[in-house]
């Protein structure tokens, strides 16, 4: 995705990397967005769109601030909603990592197990995790277990799949060589398997977290009892508080953006650059 942003392109090009080109890049990036927001604002102010259906950006901003501002209640309501959502998505992601990564290594190393399970995996992989929500709702009712369970499934399959692919992508000879040199299993894991599988693993983690977040939105709308951005949006919807709905949607978008770009982008640059000539992960896209 990042590849498509002009910001990156200028950065890459600017060998001299003067701060001036960077600023120019930033301006060309931000200008269309500002124009878009201004257009939206104007559409509402001139009455072409009804503010009770499509609130102007300024109204969303004002509402967002009043929700963020702890002066109005004991806590910042918006931060509490965001915190609840992040906690669920992260908990699901971490759980998925604990299960999927070891399983992925096991399946990746054993040809027989992989062959046996791959039809099942290729059937479950394209299945939207949200489709499991009704079963969770019947079994556990609404609440944390259902939301985290569904997000777990959303994160689990991409991580598992990428880990398997990463491990299977490792050159068998390098495993043999290291083994013949008398490496212990732990060394083998640390020196060969982990670095070899890492690029795919990281793209799997990124995908897993992104899926966890995306699944969370739907799961919270269907199953949250209190707090969480999805819950806030749906609660606002039932009382026709349109501005709050938009505040929620903007938060979902910004956090999604941060997860995909800022956190994992940095992680990729840090780790992959250390072990590999960078950019290999991008092979997937």
């Amino acid at each position: 995705m990042t590849a498509i942003s002009t910001g990156d392109a200028t950065q890459a090009k600017g060998g001299a990397s003067t701060s001036l080109t960077r600023v120019a890049g930033f301006v060309t990036f931000i200008l269309p967005i500002a124009a878009f927001l201004a257009f939206w604002e104007a559409v509402v102010w001139f009455g072409l769109a009804d503010a009770t259906i499509l609130p102007a950006p300024s109204m969303v901003l004002v509402r967002g601030w009043s929700l963020l501002n702890p002066a109005n209640s004991e806590h910042s309501l918006l931060l509490m909603h965001i915190g609840a959502s992040l906690w669920r998505a992260l908990a699901a992601f971490v759980l998925a990592c604990f299960v999927a990564i070891p399983l992925g290594f096991a399946l990746g190393l054993s040809k027989g197990a992989y062959r046996a399970l791959s039809p099942l995996l290729s059937l479950l992989l394209p299945l939207p995790a949200v489709a499991w929500t009704p079963i969770f709702l019947v079994a556990f009712g609404q609440g944390e277990i259902t939301i985290i369970g569904v997000c777990f499934l959303g994160a689990f399959f991409p991580i598992l799949y990428s880990t398997i692919q990463g491990v299977r992508g490792i050159d068998v000879h390098s495993i043999w060589v290291v083994r013949s040199m008398g490496a212990k299993p732990m060394d083998l894991f640390r020196r060969v398997l982990l670095p070899g599988a890492l690029p795919a693993l990281i793209s799997g983690l990124k995908l897993g977290m992104a899926h966890s977040w995306r699944t969370l939105v739907a799961a919270e709308m269907l199953a949250a009892l209190s707090f969480g951005l999805g819950y806030m949006i749906f609660a606002a919807r039932s009382y026709m508080d349109v501005s709050t709905m938009f505040v929620g949607i903007v938060c979902l978008a910004v956090i999604g953006l941060l997860i995909e770009h800022a956190i994992f982008g940095t992680l990729e640059r840090m780790t992959v650059a250390r072990w590999h000539s960078s950019g290999k992960v991008r092979g997937a896209r």
Partner: protein, 279 residues
Amino acid sequence: MSTIDLASAKPPSEARAIPLLPNIGARSGVIVALLVLWELAARLGWINAFLFPAPSNIAATIWTQSGPDGNPPYAMPMHVLRSMIRLLAGIALAVVIGTVLGVLIGMTRWARTLFQPLISIFMPVPTLAWTPVLLLLTGIDDRTTIIVVFIAAVFEVIYTIVAGIEMMNVKLFWVARSMGASRLQIFLRVIIPAIFPYLITGMRLGTGYAWRALIAAEMLAASSLGLGFMIYDASEYMSTNVIYAGIILIAVLGYLLENVLIGRLEASTTEKWGIQSER
């Protein structure tokens, strides 16, 4: 969704090696074994048969709900049909609009400057987050679900087409121009064939996302038909048979759509045009 799609995470050679019918028979041993085990466990009471109804019961539910004795008659085919109509309408929209935008962004400087920032901020928005807004704006479930499908698929189409144009051989372009081809001719004879394989790839990836988004959108927004609506409604009435039937249909249809149907299309275009879009 962005970045890496699952299907595209496979190396291209692997993607081609999708097991087709004869292969499935040989390789589905584990699935069959699991089903038998599940059936036994449910029948013998090892697992809660309410939460995990026996596969034979689920199959029976699919069968009765597909026939005139369903409630309403022919319920399953109607749900499947409605989901498919929404999916196809959304994908068609995404292909048309995505191609136009993709070509504009790929070919013109102004479109690139204008749209790239907008796309890169809108693309990571979870597709489902649009649902409440769309419900406000359009009100009716079919429009909302179709637009959700459109949003889920369109970014992939745009992205692959821009990538396709960037990889296009510039010489081809010059040659055509030096031979006196008009703009329209270049567009029809050079650009369209060149981006076609990319369009198909974009469609395959987009369909995968769109299918997931559609199911979730139907759960949230639909008020009458569609597989997503069916399983959510079934959870209201605790009909676990129907939920599992729906999950199975969603999985199988998703697999067929993404891998077999469009995968085939992709393979055949690659053969015909002799170009493979590396992603």
